[in-house]
């Protein structure tokens, strides 16, 4: 249990997707103009990460890792398919996003309307694929740990995009040098927020 809490807090603050690894920067910069849309996108990212990370974990464990196919029989025990993990992950993410889109459309048309174009765009958000790849690299021991990591990194991304959207709404009234307007100042604010988030780095859990 303690291990799970540890992973959860760490993936939100210490290993924050945006500030420590710059994942999902493209949509982070493009969709953070108003708080309302960024809340929608952030929620969708949490949702998709919670589903895809555990599913990818199961794929790794029972299909791709060296020796993962041993449940098929003795002769498959030496098969190593881990080089296929990229194509497997992206296929799962794309199909999961499609599935989530259909389910949301069927059961909650209002949520579907508010998320709109962001749902399909999530398939190419690097935070999602990054979540699965980090899960593979850090070798989490159980599906519980993988799920908690997915939730945590989703919440971390959500916090980051909502915070930058709130700042960008305010900064519209400030006098920024013309050449820095828009993209430039957003980069600088993100850098300053990143430095602030680095204060969490010393925390040992």
């Amino acid at each position: 249990m303690q291990e799970l809490v540890n992973i959860f807090v760490k993936s939100i603050f210490v290993d924050n997707m945006v500030f420590a690894y710059f994942l999902g920067m493209c949509s982070y910069l493009a969709v953070s103009k108003t708080v309302k849309t960024s809340v929608g996108l952030g929620a969708a990212v949490i949702f998709v990460l919670v589903i895809t990370v555990p599913v990818d974990y199961l794929m790794l464990k029972y299909l791709l890792n060296p020796g993962a196919l041993s449940w098929l029989g003795e002769e498959y025990a030496s098969v190593d398919l881990s080089f296929l993990s990229f194509i497997m992950f992206i296929a799962i993410i794309a199909s999961m996003v499609q599935l989530v889109e259909m389910v949301v459309e069927k059961f909650s048309p209002s949520l579907y309307a508010s998320l709109g174009i962001f749902l399909p765009l999530i398939a190419v958000n690097c935070a999602i694929l990054g979540g699965s790849l980090f899960m593979q690299q850090r070798e989490y021991q159980s599906i519980g740990e993988a799920t908690v990591f997915g939730i945590g990194s989703g919440i971390g991304w959500f916090l980051a995009i909502v915070a930058i959207a709130a700042i960008r709404e305010k900064i519209r009234y400030s006098n920024v040098p013309p050449a820095l307007r828009g993209l430039g100042i957003t980069f600088i604010i993100t850098g300053i927020m990143g430095i602030a988030f680095m204060t969490f780095m010393g925390i040992k859990l």
Partner: protein, 216 residues
């Protein structure tokens, strides 16, 4: 289609523009806002940055070419899946080559090789260019955008490595005597947020020189 290909010279002015535009005025990072994630994360040292640029160049140029060849036979409803499969296949190739010939760098790049799949430059160029154009211009467009991406990576990585560890490509540049006089490496430059400031400075310089790029 083949006849048209012959009429237009291989390096006509229009094609040269495809190659040079993304390097400055239409830069993928500073103008189109594509492929930021990897640009920031792999620029602590020069060597991984160069390897990353070459990998992206291979994937975006070949991918653009392949997609342009298939552009008339891809149904538009499933084009994202088709594009992802092409990209993922190319990235697996790049990853295997890196693991075989440059294992240390491949370890340093860690997940970012895999993340070339979701690098928005590639999807962005497929959608914006390769789906409407012939293979040869698409190949040039891929190379042009990859060069635009590469020079930003190299500039950022050069300064971060120089000020962060006093070296370039792992070779010590700042001499020992300077350290003895009290000079110290700037540890802050190695930390992730400094990459953002470096890219912001490039954007600032570029946009002050070229007023057309300034946003509203």
């Amino acid at each position: 289609m083949a006849a048209q290909q012959e009429r237009e010279a291989w390096f006509s002015p229009k094609n040269i523009k495809l190659l040079t535009n993304p390097i400055n005025v239409d830069n993928p990072i500073t103008k189109q806002v594509l492929g930021i994630c990897s640009a920031l994360a792999v620029t602590v040292k020069l060597e991984p940055a160069i390897v990353m640029s070459l990998s992206v160049m291979a994937v975006v140029a070949l991918g653009n070419f392949v997609i342009a060849l298939m552009r008339n036979s891809i149904p538009s409803r499933i084009r994202i899946i088709v594009q992802l499969v092409v990209i993922a296949a190319l990235v697996i190739l790049v990853d295997q080559v890196l693991k075989a010939f440059a294992y240390d760098v491949s370890k340093q790049l860690s997940v970012f090789v895999g993340l070339i799949i979701t690098n928005c430059i590639i999807m962005g160029r497929f959608e914006a260019f390769a789906m409407q154009n012939k293979p040869w211009p698409s190949l040039l467009d891929g190379f042009g955008n990859a060069f635009g991406y590469a020079w930003i990576l190299v500039v950022v990585a050069f300064f971060r490595e120089l000020f962060g560890s006093g070296a370039v490509m792992g070779v010590q540049i700042i001499p020992e005597s300077v350290y003895e006089m009290g000079y110290m490496n700037n540890g802050l430059v190695i930390l992730p947020p400094m990459a953002l400031f470096a890219v912001a400075s490039i954007i600032w310089i570029q946009r002050s020189r070229n007023k057309e790029l300034i946003e509203d």
